[in-house]
Symmetry: C2
Subunit: 341 residues, 2 copies
Amino acid sequence: MLKNDLFLKALKGETVARPPVWMMRQAGRYLPDFMALKAKYDFFTRCQTPELATAITIMPIDQVGPDAAILFSDILVVLQAMQIPVEMKDSVGPWIPNPIRTAADLQQVIVPDIDEHLGYVLDAVKMTQNALNERVPLIGFAGSPWTLLCYAVQGQGSKNFDIAKGFCFSQPELAHALLQKITDTTIAYLKAKVKAGVDAVQLFDSWGGLLSPEDYQIFSWPYLQQIVSALKDDAPVIVFGKGCWFALHEMGRSGAAALGVDWTCTARNARYLSGGQITLQGNFDPARLLSPIPDIQAGVKKMIDEFGKDKYIVNLGHGILPNIPVDHAKAFVDAVKAYTP
Amino acid sequence: MLKNDLFLKALKGETVARPPVWMMRQAGRYLPDFMALKAKYDFFTRCQTPELATAITIMPIDQVGPDAAILFSDILVVLQAMQIPVEMKDSVGPWIPNPIRTAADLQQVIVPDIDEHLGYVLDAVKMTQNALNERVPLIGFAGSPWTLLCYAVQGQGSKNFDIAKGFCFSQPELAHALLQKITDTTIAYLKAKVKAGVDAVQLFDSWGGLLSPEDYQIFSWPYLQQIVSALKDDAPVIVFGKGCWFALHEMGRSGAAALGVDWTCTARNARYLSGGQITLQGNFDPARLLSPIPDIQAGVKKMIDEFGKDKYIVNLGHGILPNIPVDHAKAFVDAVKAYTP
């Protein structure tokens, strides 16, 4: 039995004394202990070694105290498993040496056996659950098919992912075939993660906000909906689309347990757009953690007052920034724990 | 007398046979003739030489045929005039060697005499108006104070402008002092541009969408409102805030003649959020110009049907991308000219 089940209660919409809190990228570069491991092991070694993934996942639980853990990994491990090699290049970031741009490229892409190609993630889930010892629930995650297509086609990060968008707009059949392969892989991957022991899953549509609402309904949402429908009876599903305020209506009716919102969408707009019934998660501006601690405390109080304490999970509106002082992150978490209406 | 005054009519909300069209960055890198000049003259030479700025401004009028010209320049020339040196570095973009981060840095920043420091822009306005010879109106532009602060403090382009935001959140008095200096300069600059002959002005808040709605009302909107209030009796003012759907309500009541919207905000949402009375400008996804020409034509028709032909200026939702074929840009403009309800 979980010692702290606030997060799962909020996902079910149950009444809580205070909302739960966690931070996207909480197991990340603002933590000195993470930086020490980063100096020793390269990016994918950290992802692919269950002992390292476990140690990194646990770090913020011990040091910052959120109400949920999220397994350390990366959305791009799914592309690697699909036979699309991904490297992590200094000062470039993700780098795909052979981006997918033709029918011949697509032919090479497989829907992999999860145990064979992503077994290390499943091992990390089991190892992390042992280490957590029921202290807090564990979240598993995946990127949205659209967001993974962005990297697979563009070949690297981009301000506007123009090559990826041009691919979709000029060769829509190929785009849909790639999106479906990613979707099939992601469903199998997340089902395996739930079986291995994660308590909830989150889908990250990091680049959904680059699409118009109409194109979002063509190239992103149908695939996210497939994943939500396939997973929702296995575990609660959280959908987070950065910049996707325009799709909160569809998301609210999808069967997802909760929706992430970024800081450009007020609590009032998010409740209105999502239909007012579903649990929401967010949306403190990550850069606002650079404010003096009293401002962080006041901001957290105001944010919870605006979202309401129920059907709400406190989080940032995107990943925590590398330059956030640990005591500011801790002040954020502690302010939630100290919340009184 | 202007031979084509569709653009000015739309800014006044007058009935038109079809909406006017222009494209942000229409005098830009998708034009082979622009690339030929780019190979010969560096970025600020092109901005600071009235003959070059004029030639570049006219290029798309001759080659693509929009209903308005926009003076070739850059938002960062205002920072240069304020004694904040700006360089354009290969593969980095804008580069500010001495970013503004302390009271001592701020002390060095001046509110310049416009004739002395930006006279070359005023000369370019006069020369361009001669060259245009009343064919279409000429737009002058400036960056928003918030967007200029982003560059002045961060020192270069950034995904999240975290240093600039941290500066505002931790040293708000300094931030407001810098924003006010930029505002005072921008008002004098735009008034001088109008006096030199531009027919309308557009304010670009390229990074407004990085702020929460609450912080937008602190660090961006009050300064834009000052500029609109100071200019609106001199010339029609267009306010374009990328990602700023959440501020359309305030913008709609500001005295601006029109509001730019990006492609994440549907026509319906933009009309609703802005109050339904003000002229809107936008919002074709720039990457959608990579679609086959028949799709571009259908998309333009659908967009005008949704915005309505009146109180509407057709544009992209952000600047045209460098990799757009010229015939696709021309197909976009021609589709507007061929519009019938």
